[in-house]
Amino acid sequence: MDGLDVGPFAGGAIKQFIIAFGEDADGELYVLTNTSSALRGNKGRVWKLVAE
């Protein structure tokens, strides 16, 4: 099972906890991450999957 290569993160390993995914009205996807596995702190990020 191979991860999805995303930018500088080979194999889809993005160095953060993957908390959730999101989808917009156009069907594009977002990845919500945090440096903590729990809902705390202020270092969460929202990423958008876009073409390279």
């Binding site: 290569d5 993005i14 069907g27």
Partner: protein, 195 residues
């Protein structure tokens, strides 16, 4: 066992920006609300209303018990009773024993993404991380190579390190289940905003 709440965004309960549907099985009391992240079973799942039935039937991330993972069991899209029946008695008997009407009497569904869970058995070479983070079938246009694939993630590979992984699951039939194979595609995750 995790619960799924039916939120009513068109109405409001006292002190809330939304209402909890009365058909929700969870008792309506303080601390009764459970976010998808806190659910053991199922994990996250899309909630788009136009394909809600498909979501609940096929796209819920399901986390089986660690015991089953240790035995190399697969992740099943059913509740715990169905899972145990499937493992101990087989598919046909499990289907007969499942209470009718709990999910409308639909048949049991094969797993879409069987993986082995990590945790204390992380030395198993087939283990792939800990906890599925449910995703979406890609229906956008920016990444045509992902069209129709189920994009989801692992919360983390090992709890000690923040190293979650994003996966793409292609849609392909196979004899033992409706999905097979894994894919890797080049794409770029551009940070769009900080929370």
């Amino acid at each position: 066992m995790g619960k799924v709440l039916r939120l009513d965004v068109n109405n409001r309960d006292a002190g809330k920006q939304y209402a909890v549907r009365r058909t929700t099985r969870l008792p309506r009391r303080r601390l009764a609300e459970i976010s998808p992240m806190a659910c053991a079973i199922p994990g996250d799942f899309p909630s788009t209303a136009r394909r809600a039935r498909i979501v609940l039937a096929a796209w819920a991330g399901f986390l089986g018990g660690s015991r089953y993972h240790h035995q190399g069991r697969q992740l099943w899209l059913e509740h715990s009773r169905g899972l145990r029946l499937l493992q101990s008695q087989g598919r046909a008997q499990a289907a007969r024993a499942m209470p009718q009407g709990r999910r409308g009497g639909e048949p049991l569904i094969d797993p879409i993404s069987p993986t082995r869970n990590g945790g204390r058995w992380r030395k198993d070479p087939e283990v792939k991380g800990i906890s599925i983070t449910g995703g979406y079938v890609y229906r956008g246009k920016a990444l045509p190579q992902l069209a129709g694939k189920y994009i989801f993630g692992r919360l983390v590979e090992e709890l000690r390190h923040p190293d979650g992984v994003i996966y793409a699951r292609p849609r392909a039939r196979m004899a033992s289940g409706p999905w097979t194979g894994w894919t890797s595609a080049r794409s770029r995750a551009a940070r769009s905003s900080n929370s």
